[in-house]
């Protein structure tokens, strides 16, 4: 499947097209060995089975009905779709944003703390495609940026996933409010919507419009209050992120 990739600032900024990315079994198999958090054999087969709702007419002779029917009685495993999201995000960073291997850290999850899926190391340079999205690139911090990735079937599910991802990114901001205040408000969420009329990958870049408000709130709130405030429509904290409210 070849999927359009778009990049935007915040949740509702204008889109910039980054072309299309070709995703297939082979590519997913290889990428998931490097980027998926869970050990899943033959991720490529899961990718085919989970994502191809029904084979196109010219391929039905190869697939037959059995694949789709076999899945009818089962749900997709969240761990697998999560892995697909991470894998696609890794591919997008490499191919569409031009991030070198040395700058992308896939974070091996720890059991005690929720961690971002990736840290993008911008200590030396910020990728030009990300800089181009920012409203105020001169303020962008040269530090590690948190990255969350999600995959979901439909646009509605993607909206829910983005809420959860933003909460996770906000949790990273909260934890670093003292040791790395510069990162407050900066982060990336990559989503992969794989069904519906138009499958797509969207890269959302977050930038603060009023970093001081975020820092002040993080200094006075608990982690749960802060992350909830970031997701509450109309809150001052949400308003302190560009193109989010």
């Amino acid at each position: 499947m070849d999927v359009p990739v778009r990049i935007r600032l915040g949740l509702n900024g204008a889109d910039t097209q980054l072309g299309r990315i070709r995703l297939n079994r082979r590519l997913i198999d290889t990428a998931s060995q490097h980027f998926g958090a869970y050990h899943i054999l033959e991720m490529g087969r899961h990718f085919d089975d989970y994502l191809i709702a029904w084979p196109p007419p010219q391929l039905q002779m190869y697939y037959g009905p059995h694949l789709a029917l076999r899945r009818t009685g089962k749900q997709r495993a969240p761990v697998i779709t999560g892995n697909i999201g991470e894998t696609v995000a890794g591919q997008v960073f490499r191919r569409k944003i031009g991030v070198p291997i040395s700058r992308l850290r896939h974070i091996y999850p720890t059991s005690r703390f929720r961690t971002p899926d990736y840290l993008l190391d911008c200590r030396v340079a910020i990728p030009p495609r990300i800089i181009a999205c920012l409203n105020n690139p001169a303020n962008a911090p040269f530090t590690r940026w948190p990255v969350e990735s999600k995959a979901a079937a439909t646009a509605g599910r993607i909206t829910q996933s983005v809420r959860s991802a933003l909460q996770q990114v906000a949790s990273y901001w909260f934890n670093h409010r003292v040791t790395n205040a510069a990162v407050m408000g900066y982060g990336i969420i990559v989503t992969f919507q794989y069904q519906g009329q138009s499958p797509e990958v969207v890269v959302r870049i977050f930038e603060p419009s009023h970093q001081a408000i975020l820092l002040q709130s993080a200094g006075t709130m608990t982690a749960a209050q802060f992350t909830a405030a970031i997701n509450r429509i109309g809150s001052a904290e949400r308003g302190a992120l560009r193109n989010v409210n």
Binding site: D2, R25, T30, R94, Y108, R112, T115, V178
Partner: protein, 231 residues
């Protein structure tokens, strides 16, 4: 360590060993991965058997610590698997390394006549050179890391979709082929790694690992550090 000191340190700590350890684990080069993770933990002043003191601050350090414990547990398992599958190769997993190279490789046996080497970048500063050399060795299909190999005009894309489902994307990947015994086909990917298939084409089986290793070393010797390494 005070908060101020921690903030200073966090920005300067290198994460490269973590990235390299992940590549080494992909290749099953477990001992080397553990060594890299130990270096990373030591450089941060962490004890290797203890959880880092600030895991929510130093996310990479915490991940490295967890990965190190997991790798140590898996080390024994990898050895057992390798020994059961490679009876003619005693030193397992068989690591192929040279001080002059910026890649490392592990050699694995799939069947009597089919072997696979997993090659990975062992110095991150040579990433672009890795792909330059691949392009020099590959046939007409060239590879540019970070740029879309599969970005073709949409008309061509539609025509390719059918083939894609049938898994013939290799047509669009650069491969390195070395004729001889064993026959070698290497396929690089986006992640600083390369899968090298070695097919033993004689009826008589190889009787020592050198028969596989020598041609492989010849190929890997192309991945040498240049006199002036790229930045």
């Amino acid at each position: 360590m005070s908060i101020d000191e921690l903030s200073q340190e966090l920005e300067h700590w290198s994460d490269d060993e973590y990235v390299l350890a992940r590549l080494a684990l992909w290749a099953g080069d477990v001992d080397h991965a553990i060594q890299l993770l130990d270096e990373l933990l030591a450089s941060r002043g962490y004890l290797r058997n203890r959880y880092p003191p600030n895991p929510d601050q130093d996310v990479v350090g915490a991940a490295a610590s967890r990965l190190r414990r997991q790798a140590a547990r898996l080390r024994g398992e990898v050895r057992r698997v390798a020994e059961s599958r490679m009876p003619q190769i005693s030193d397992v997993p068989h690591v192929i390394v040279d001080d002059k190279w910026f890649v490392r490789a592990t050699l694995w046996c799939h069947r009597e006549r089919r072997y696979q080497a997993l090659v990975y970048l062992s110095e991150l500063k040579f990433e672009s050179r890795f792909y330059e050399i691949i392009n020099a060795l590959a046939g007409p299909r060239k590879y540019t890391p970070g740029s879309p190999r599969y970005d073709l005009p949409s008309r061509k894309m539609a025509a390719l979709r059918m083939r894609d489902h049938l898994e013939s994307i290799s047509e669009y990947s650069p491969t390195i082929v070395v004729e001889g015994l064993p026959f070698i086909e290497a396929e690089p990917n986006d992640f600083g790694t390369m899968e090298v298939d070695l097919i033993w084409t004689r009826r008589e089986l190889p009787h020592e690992v050198g028969q596989l290793e020598r041609p492989l070393r010849k190929l890997l010797s192309r991945f040498q550090r240049s006199k002036s390494p790229p930045i």
